[in-house]
Amino acid sequence: MSVPLAERPSPALRDWPRVQVHPGTGVVDRRGDVLLVVPVLPPSSAERVRELVRLCHRPDPTGSARVDALRALLDLRAADVPGFALLVRSGTSLRALVHRPVRLLVDGRAPDRPAGDGARLGEHVLPDGDWHELTVAAEGDAELPAVSDVLRLDLESGTVPGAGVTLLPTSPGPVPQLPGGSAAAGPGIPSSATALRPAVQFRTVLLGECATAAGQPARAARRPPLPIAGARGEGGVDTATTGPEVLVEGVHCPQGHFTDPELPACPTCGTPLPPAGRRVRLPRPPLGILVTDGGTIYPVTGDLLIGREAAQAPDVLAGRARALPLRDAARSTSRVHARLTVDGWTVLLSDNGSANGTFLSRSGAAGPWLPVTAQIPVRLVHGDRVRLGKRQLLFDTWRETAVSRGPR
């Protein structure tokens, strides 16, 4: 939760001019060899500015990826991005990338027309020694703030508020001090090692007496009491853990359990099913449970995608399937490793083109393992074990369950 510490200055940092920040409400961000100045922050552009800062923080050893990303961002959203200047150290010169409206002044004058795509991202190359003072400010500022000599500060690293910057080359001389500066030798400039901590961003909802004291209105409507336990024949299914209802055709066993008409006996109570029971369409009850080797239990009520990042799969996001996340440290499971499809009263398993394959063991024990393919789904039966990478699942349909007797 804390901000990463300021980067240690590289030797190249000594070649940087001093960065004096003008007071103001924009953003000045410096990290390593990159300095970003956004003199004005329009309220609507907060997200774009965060994106800019993130982009500038990205490591970029070649020096071109960042500029390409900037151009791409501007191609997409030039209108939303506020004016900014990005200064990048490159060899013995400073590259200045400017997106208007923002003003760049070299020794008090605007530089020549920029090279490159001037409309979106102008580029100036400023060789060392060719200039003595470089200023970035908002366009239209009548007068630039005078650079104070009273407290000479140098933004070394971090993000601070500011309306612009003035860069002043340091005179060659003794090695400037390092941050934390015990070695404050020579006429070094006191550098600001202050990295402002980003304001804590959080959201809370007061509860109970705190909500009452703050006069906060009730968030949720009061609910009716829960039904009394054991109202006979209550056949509800918990949609919080199962997803939407699906109607299927089935029969009622003599005990009243709704079940698969093709079975010889009721899987819940074991009572034989009459051969010509009346078929009805009703919400499908869960067809079993999947237990992970980590001990998580999932009722099987509809299609499930199993894998390392199953929750991000399009079918899950669209609500057509639920996710069964299965990961391990060795990443032995694929993003979407396998697919469980429920068709009527049948539970089918297929591989989803996984790297390490999906295997099934019918014996109820760990092996022998038979491969499951993507093309031919396998019907899961009670007691099946499934191996996906290094993880395992067990399918259980509660058969053989005794329910009628009480504890002894």
Binding site: M1, V200, Q201, F202, R203, T204, V205, L206, L207, G208, E209, C210, A211, A214, A218, R219, A220, R222, R223, P224, P225, L226, P227, I228, A229, G230, R232, V237, D238, A240, T241, G243, P285, P286, I289, V291, T292, D293, G294, G295, T296, I297, Y298, P299, T301, R322, L324, P325, R385, Q392, L394, D396, W398, E400, T401, V403, S404, R405, G406, P407
Partner: protein, 270 residues
């Protein structure tokens, strides 16, 4: 972790599989007297369910029942969900700060049952009743906040049982929930019965679960009957037996009925 949102942590109070609990300095915006609060930080991230979770906790906290832990605040810092509640320094029934008499343990479970009843009457389900969630205080005990993990990561009934002794946690989940039935009064009554049994005997109702891996544990659990221990008194055994009937219709109709029965047992001499 040294803080979350505007809560500065003083020390860690405990750690579960899906959360950690910290003693924190009370932010002034809460406007409450105690200097410190207990903050639970969930390790399950997922901001989609936050509003549902905040609704549920708001209803819980608005009950202001004396048998329920007072809750102050629920929030999200980044994708991390946390909530603040009264700090109960005396521990829980799972780890009491001092030895409790048999009667004190019975009355603590009865208080938890009264708290659960207050929730049920307001249409709320607890889903997480266990000795760790019966917090001890001067008045006896309060029931901790409900278990809401299902609102953040949907689709599972029980999670992270792990192996070995932790597989014993399975028995707090009423068997009908594994058949996809909704949680409600009956499943909370089951969990109260299991809690009562565990705090009176020190062992579970399904001794075979202890040494089993999750696959075996689930199969054993779904195919065996709860076995109350021999070290219960006759009255205690009768309460446990009624609370953990496999058929929800045969259990105590309400948590208040269970509380009455436990208090009656606690009032008997001996």
């Amino acid at each position: 972790m040294d803080r979350i949102a505007d809560y500065v942590f003083l020390r860690e109070l405990g750690r579960g599989e899906h959360s950690s609990v910290h003693l924190a300095r009370t932010p002034r915006r809460l406007g409450i007297a105690p200097d410190t609060v207990s903050v639970k930080v969930l390790s399950v991230t997922g901001t989609d369910g936050f509003d549902a979770l905040a609704d549920e906790l708001s209803l819980f906290a608005a009950l202001r029942a004396p048998e329920l832990v007072p809750m102050y605040d629920v929030g999200m810092d980044g994708a991390v969900v946390f909530y603040a509640m009264r700090h109960e320094p005396s521990g829980s029934l799972a780890a009491p700060a001092r030895d409790l008499s048999r009667r004190e343990r019975l009355l603590a479970v009865a208080r938890a049952a009264r708290g659960a009843h207050a929730m049920h009457e307001a249409g709320l389900v607890h889903r997480g009743i266990a000795p760790t969630n019966v917090l001890l205080d001067k008045a006896g005990a309060v029931l901790a906040e409900p278990s809401l993990g299902h609102l953040l990561t949907q689709g599972h009934t029980v999670s992270g049982l792990g192996t070995g002794s932790r597989a014993g946690r399975l028995e707090f989940v009423a068997p009908e929930l594994m058949r996809g039935r909704p949680a409600g009064r009956a499943s909370d009554v089951w969990a109260l019965g299991v809690t009562l049994h565990l705090v009176m005997t020190g062992h579970g109702l399904f001794p075979a679960l202890v040494s089993a891996d999750p696959f075996t544990a689930v199969r054993i659990y779904l195919r065996s009957q709860p076995v109350p221990g021999d070290d219960l008194t006759e009255g205690e055994r009768a309460v446990v037996t009624t609370a953990v009937q496999p058929d929800p219709a045969h259990r105590f109709r309400t948590a208040a009925e269970l509380a009455d029965a436990v208090e009656e047992v606690a009032g008997r001499p001996g």
